[in-house]
């Protein structure tokens, strides 16, 4: 049986699969939030989701529109102050996985969400880092999700909002950072993991129907593919239904709110 799905859905579901039942996951909004909640609603019911607004162990029935939506608090194990969140829970080293998105990303997992152009005279002023600088250094490892574009996946990021592997190799450890940093990149086209030595992101599997050219044409650096390049497993019916139901519940709820 053929199942139809979008590249967006594939990205979210592939990200969900990377999360386990014992993970303590620091969640951003958008794709990371959907992925984390799909994981919770499928293979990882006991996963702990933390949003930087202070909600710990939250289990929203619909996807929040912001990291501080009321339902996150209603369904949380507890809600703490933001200073406590950043001191005890993030800096305290209790988060296993941090999920980040990026406006710009380079091959070493360095992320820019601050400015396009020069910091002091930017062509586009982006929102800034928020929690990202310390999420990137304090979480056990970092998963990144983003849609591939030439503007987004660049040779050199315009600004180091959060540090990945720097120029690769042992750059990260050399700075005294003890956490793993970016270990996974999931785009709408492929699953990438860093080379163990160089730390450059390598494509490990292409999403179904995606070609190497597809990936290269939407990426600003020369892409390396794994020798044993695979194909990402297509979404299962359970995964797809779970994601679509979640999105449908979310849309319905927000429609009611503004009705």
């Amino acid at each position: 049986m053929e199942i139809d799905f979008t590249t967006d859905e594939m990205m979210t579901i592939a990200a969900a699969r990377a999360l386990g039942n014992d993970d303590i996951c620091f969640v951003g909004i958008g794709a990371p939030s959907a992925a984390c909640n799909v994981a919770r609603l499928t293979h990882a019911p006991d996963i702990t989701l933390i949003y930087e607004s202070g909600t710990i162990g939250t289990a929203p029935d619909i996807l929040p529109l912001s990291i501080g939506d009321g339902e996150l608090c209603d369904t949380a194990v507890t809600t703490v102050s933001v200073p406590e969140m950043f001191r005890y829970w993030l800096q305290g080293g209790r988060v296993t996985v941090g999920f980040l998105g990026a406006a710009q990303l380079d091959r070493f997992g360095n992320i820019n969400t601050t400015v396009i152009g020069d910091y002091n005279a930017p062509s586009i002023r982006l929102p800034g880092g928020g929690g990202a600088p310390e999420i990137a250094s304090s979480c056990g490892e970092i998963f990144i999700t983003m849609k591939q574009t030439l503007r987004g996946m660049v040779e050199v990021v315009d600004f180091f909002t959060s540090f990945g592997h720097g120029s690769g190799g042992t750059d990260r450890a050399d700075l005294g950072i003890t956490t793993k940093g970016p270990t996974l990149l999931i785009t709408d086209l492929a699953v990438w993991r860093p080379d163990p030595k160089t730390k450059e992101f390598i494509v490990r599997s292409l999403h179904p129907g995606v070609t190497r050219d597809h990936v290269q044409d939407t990426c600003g650096w020369p892409v390396k593919f794994a020798d044993d390049l695979g194909v990402t497993d297509i979404p299962t019916e359970l995964e797809l239904t779970t994601l679509r139901d979640l999105k449908a519940r979310t849309e319905a709820a927000h429609a009611v709110e503004v009705a």
Binding site: G70, V80, V82, T114, N120, P133, E134, S137, V256, V258
Partner: protein, 285 residues
């Protein structure tokens, strides 16, 4: 000691031209009504502080009230960028905007240090991050036991902090519940603090012993403004007006449209409009 007064009086008494001011709220309980009153009173030369400047800071920047902003994430949550702030940074319209940019961890620690009466906050942060190259207020201290280099930022000490809370009791103590953000710290870090509340109740006898309560002597003014957080929300009272945030993106995209909207929805009204704005959002909170 908390004084019950009108929002107009509270803003007039507590916010001066040139002040460093925080209107704090972390998605939840953002003090929109207080900020709109500040806009009506046409304060100038402000330094705005907030972890997550959003729509209401976009409005103040667009109105030319702001010289400088100290922040860690400037976006329209769930929607996108802040177009008035972008216009100020990219095009100096209506005037140039100085920015002092931090991470969330730094800002949260800086408020905490302010509440704790310290001159600076010390934490582990900014490792490999570019902000420390563009912000001279990100420095280092060395742990005198391990030699580890830790990040230091100045504490945040606003002249005045505005927050919105669910309840005051008759004595003027303030109750904040749900996503409490950095509001306690923002109040305690400030020289003066103005709190708008949804309602006044007799007492807090039925409230949990460890709930987030600010005693009346930690607060300068209390103003009853039902709906005062709209389009943000007040847990237990009304939900977030997501449509308003989406609409803002369109309004803020055009200077003229922005000015018209401000004229109609802020400058020519008063804080009583907030109760009407939340009438359709009650109950689901």
């Amino acid at each position: 000691m908390a004084k019950f007064q009108s929002l107009k009086e509270a803003v007039s008494d507590n916010l001066k031209d040139g002040d460093t001011v925080a209107f704090e709220g972390f998605t939840h309980l953002i003090p929109h009504a207080a900020a709109h009153e500040a806009i009506r009173q046409n304060r100038k030369g402000l330094t705005l502080v907030r972890m997550t400047p959003d729509v209401v800071y976009d409005q103040m920047i667009g109105m030319g009230m702001v010289d400088k902003i100290i922040f860690s994430y400037a976006g329209n949550p769930g929607v996108g960028l802040l177009r008035r702030m972008r216009d100020a940074v990219e095009n100096k319209w209506p005037k140039a905007l100085e920015i002092e940019e931090h991470s969330h961890a730094a800002m949260a620690n800086a408020y905490e240090a302010g509440a704790a009466g310290l001159p600076c906050a010390v934490f582990r942060g900014y490792k490999g991050a570019g902000l420390k190259d563009v912000n001279n207020n990100i420095r280092e201290v060395t742990c005198p036991f391990t030699g580890e280099k830790l990040a230091a930022v100045p504490s945040v000490r606003p002249d005045v902090t505005f927050i919105h809370a669910q309840k005051a009791n008759k004595r003027g103590d303030i109750l904040i519940e749900g996503i409490i953000g950095v509001q306690k710290e923002a109040v305690l870090a400030a020289k003066r603090a103005v709190v708008t509340v949804e309602e006044v109740v007799d007492d807090f006898d039925d409230v949990h012993v460890n709930a987030c309560i600010l005693p009346r002597w930690a607060v300068t003014s209390v103003c009853v403004v039902p709906g005062g957080a709209h389009p943000s929300y007040a847990h237990g009272y009304y939900t977030r007006d997501n449509a308003a945030y989406v609409e803002w993106d369109k309004i803020a995209s055009d200077r003229g449209l922005f000015q018209e909207w401000m004229q109609k929805n802020v400058l020519t009204v008063d804080e009583t409009v907030f109760e009407k704005r939340i009438s359709a959002l009650k109950g689901a909170a």
